[in-house]
């Protein structure tokens, strides 16, 4: 086909017209901030329903929808109903960014609830910062972040480990073997763990990272046998959790002498690996499904009624649930029918809510949440027996391991020493 100038001009014009039509916000002057109007509050729900992390993110989606339905049934917020816009980013950070842009710019949501992996949160961050929107992130993470466009309702390392590591040292001993998946979350958690151990006179006999999804732990277990740690501090995630626990037990190791202490093993992973492989190991988290409080019983009952009798709630789906209520309280406080995401952020500070785990509060200092850490021992039944719980809520300090930095309402501040 000979390509002449006329064909070229026609083709370019066609492509240009097509893109202008399909991406109208490119040339629309009114790229105004999202705001609520017309008696309904649009919010985005951005959890993967397909892909590798769908296993856990589906439960986050379900917890969010449950909360929205409960709030709407009770009359909505200031008489306005919440309208969820649900997107499936398919466990791919690039798709997360694309869907986030659609929710913020196209659907004009006033807030978006989403993300499980840190990779997906980092991918959507630029969208929320550029359009000054608000992202509610429910998952426990490594800290070290201080965005003015995110509200963090998951635990940060100081909350996970402040009571856990001393308890482990006291009950089992000072030699720790650190094993994690090879990405930022385990590395930051191990960083905090090492600092705590040093203060307690503990010793790190091994530190190692396996590829994500790795399932062959024969060599690692041999190293456990050789170095004989008192505690195996595990931050592996996903499939690796199941494989590690099963191979640990198959190799004849004893959780009474060398327990695995994890920040990531939840009721979901125990269901996948089988109760007898999980029994005797420990997890630190602000929430366990077995926690005995009236709010939690109500939550579990409602969740199972809505989504199925055999479903479990876990320490990621519980924050996904209560963060919607905190959102509701923040918007109620504004009392108007038009409001912007930055206004919601300010209104959310110091909001308290009786969550299934206890009374939680959003910190006005760093937009993270005061939580109640607990230590659970896994049982063969698949549930956790809560051995220790925090007597009061623990303040979130996302930069605890970095004394020169502090998160303030205006962003990260480097302290001049």
């Amino acid at each position: 086909m000979s390509y002449n100038r006329r064909k070229f001009l026609k083709g370019t014009a066609a492509v240009g017209a097509a893109s202008a039509v399909s991406f109208p916000h490119l040339w629309m002057k009114d790229a105004s901030l999202a705001h609520a109007a017309a008696g309904e509050i649009k919010i985005g729900v951005l959890y993967s329903l397909t892909g590798t992390t769908a296993i856990i993110e589906t439960s986050l989606n379900q917890a969010t929808i449950l909360a929205i339905e409960e709030i709407n049934a009770a009359g909505g917020i200031n008489g306005m109903k919440i309208v969820p816009v649900i997107e499936d980013p398919a466990s791919d950070p690039a798709t997360f960014a694309q869907k986030a842009r659609k929710l913020v710019v196209g659907d004009k949501c006033v807030s978006v609830f989403g993300s499980y992996t840190s990779a997906s949160r980092k991918a959507v961050l630029p969208v929320f910062e550029k359009y000054n929107n608000l992202y509610w992130y429910p998952t426990l993470y490594e800290g070290r972040e201080c965005s003015k466009n995110v509200i963090y309702t998951g635990a940060v390392p100081n909350q996970q480990q402040k009571d856990f590591v001393p308890w482990l040292v006291k009950n089992f001993g000072k030699k720790f073997y650190l094993i994690g998946s090879n990405y930022i979350y385990p590395k930051e958690e191990n960083n905090v763990c090492k600092i705590l151990l040093k203060r307690l006179g503990g010793e790190v006999v091994g530190e190692e990272y396996v590829p994500l999804g790795h399932s062959e732990f024969a060599a690692v277990i041999n190293k456990f046998k050789e170095t004989q740690p008192n505690v195996i501090f595990s931050t592996v995630v996903g499939d690796s959790v199941v494989a590690l626990h099963r191979q640990y037990k198959a190799a004849g190791l004893d959780p009474k002498k060398m327990p695995m202490a994890s920040l990531t093993t939840s009721e979901e992973e125990i269901a996948a690996m089988g109760g007898e492989f999980a029994a005797g190991h420990f997890t630190s988290a602000p929430y366990f499904m077995s926690y005995d409080s009236p709010e939690n019983h109500k939550f579990v009952e409602a969740f199972q009624k809505r989504w199925g009798k055999g479903k479990t709630t876990n320490f990621v789906s519980e924050p996904a649930y209560f963060q919607v209520y905190l959102f509701k309280q923040a918007v109620e406080k504004l009392g108007k029918t038009e409001f912007t995401p930055p206004a919601i952020r300010v209104a959310s500070w110091n909001q308290e809510f009786k969550a299934p785990e206890g009374l939680v509060k959003i910190s006005a200092q760093n937009s993270h949440t005061y939580l109640w850490p607990k230590i659970g021992e896994a049982q063969t039944s698949g549930q956790f027996k809560i051995i220790e719980q925090s007597k009061e809520w623990v303040e979130p300090l996302p930069y605890w391991a970095y004394p020169g930095q502090v998160c303030t309402p205006d962003g990260l501040v480097q302290k001049k020493t």
Partner: protein
């Protein structure tokens, strides 16, 4: 001595898992020249078949093995009959086609069964550990090792001591001449593909109690299987055995010295160097290909 036994044990264990996964692929690639990228998904199907039989019909793992072999072999048969047989003259297209089959199988399982990790129970008599030479090894891993050896022996017997094996070897060397001798090449190919798929299914069911069962568990296995086949040399059973042992033992030792991430990287690097020096694998057969 105290270091060698554990290392040997780890190496043999990793090697036996590699071997049972790679054996099916080696057969399919070696005899038919088909690059079956759906091999990992056949492994995954085997794991799900065992989960299903265990959870809904209460059949134990060992009793399941033959059923799983038949089921995944049947799936392999269908794939060969409907798709692969049209692509024998187009090896590059088989890559795309089998990759597509793999994706379809993965998503079918995900949509029908769900993406959650599934639980397969180990047989009770194998859950303990066995002591030997002052070292404790999981009984189940020993079981896998024994089964790997058994499967290799069965395959050897099938290929070199039966009529079917004779026909298969004839068809592998030269399909046209074999047809002139009255051998039904199409049927032979279908049966071979089904056998390779069935082996993958058995591998999946054996691996599932030790690791986890999820729709995307297959992909790492097909990568490892290809490493084994490429290093060992096409069409060589001995090559497959030797290279799975080599890769397994080296992985185990490197993982012990440093860590698993480094081990994986170094193994890949080693394989690349090995292929540069021995382009046709360690045990390449000298065959005149028409």
């Amino acid at each position: 001595m105290s270091v060698i036994i554990p290392q040997l044990s780890v190496g043999l264990s990793i090697a036996s898992i590699l071997l049972i996964v790679a054996l099916g692929l080696a057969i399919i690639y070696g005899t038919m020249g088909v690059i079956n990228l759906a091999h990992g998904e056949f492994v995954m199907l085997g794991a799900y078949a065992v989960w299903f039989l265990q959870t809904y019909l209460g059949i134990g793992l060992i009793a399941c093995l033959l059923l799983v072999f038949a089921f995944v072999g049947g799936v392999g048969w269908l794939v060969e009959r409907l798709l692969i047989r049209h692509l024998y003259k187009r090896p590059l297209d088989t890559i795309l086609a089998t990759w597509g089959v793999g994706v379809i199988l993965q998503q079918t399982i995900r949509l029908s069964v769900g993406p959650e990790l599934r639980y397969v129970k180990m047989p009770d008599f194998l859950t303990s550990s066995v002591h030997f030479f002052g070292y404790e090894e999981s009984a189940y891993r020993i079981f896998i090792f024994v089964l790997a050896v058994a499967l290799v022996l069965i395959t050897y017997f099938l290929f070199f001591r039966t009529e079917f094996g004779l026909r298969l070897r004839a068809v592998t060397q030269n399909p046209e001449i074999a047809r002139c001798f009255g051998i039904n090449a199409g049927l032979t190919y279908s049966l071979t593909f089904a056998y390779g798929a069935g082996l993958a299914g058995i591998a999946g069911s054996l691996v599932s109690p030790l690791k986890s069962v999820s729709p995307d568990m297959g992909t790492p296995y097909v990568v490892d299987a290809f490493l084994v086949v490429v290093v060992g040399g096409v069409q060589s059973l001995l090559g497959t055995v030797a290279s799975s042992y080599l890769i397994g033992q080296v992985s185990g030792v490197l993982a012990f010295i440093s860590n698993d991430t480094m081990a994986k990287a170094l193994v890949f690097f080693g394989v690349v160097v090995l292929i540069r020096l021995f382009p046709r694998g360690l045990f390449a057969m000298r065959v005149r290909r028409s």
